[in-house]
């Protein structure tokens, strides 16, 4: 296993640790706003680290596709989290 693949493995382990942080947040936090906050922030960085680790581990990976997917996830995951919080606020779900 080369040094680049070790770096990719470290990136994937760090990304899965961020997924675990999101899971702890979903279980332990008290209401919709906090849960959506934990999920949106942790999984955005987690899936970016996953894509980086995939690109470093697989030698013939296309970095253009990885860049497009990273940009798409950076736009859509926080917007979905924000939509959930906006609907909770409009419905008057209190903290």
């Amino acid at each position: 296993m080369s040094a680049v693949q070790v770096l990719g493995t470290l990136a994937m382990l760090l990304g899965s640790f961020l997924f675990l942080v999101a899971a702890v947040g979903i279980v332990r936090l008290p209401d919709v706003y906090c849960r959506s906050h934990a999920l949106g922030k942790a999984t955005t960085l987690g899936i970016m680290l996953f894509l980086l680790g995939y690109g470093l581990r697989v030698p013939e990976a296309s970095w253009l596709k990885i860049l497009v997917i990273v940009l798409f996830q950076m736009v859509t995951v926080p917007v979905a989290s924000h939509l959930i919080c906006l609907m909770a606020y409009r419905k008057g779900i209190g903290r």
């Binding site: 493995t9 919709v32 959930i84 909770a88 419905k91």
Partner: protein, 100 residues
Amino acid sequence: MTLANLDLYIVGLLLFVTASVGVWRIATGPTTLDRMVGFDSVAITASGLVLLFSAATSSNDFVEFVFILAALGFLTTVAYFYYLMQLSKDDPNFDPESRP
């Protein structure tokens, strides 16, 4: 289970924990929006599992699946948001906490 790819087993275990927590949140969420949070967790974990499978088999054929899964999760959230907006427009006393 060989020790050479033990790291990928650890990654898969943590992803399994996240997906299980999402399913548990879908089952026992007090409001409908909690269930949407759980569904988002499961959808993002599914794209992570596709990436894990690609890295484990060193294949290059499944990266488009990640894009498709991300788009499906986002469009589901937007569609449900639109549905709840339409419901609230019809019924001003609509309360998502009272829905099963």
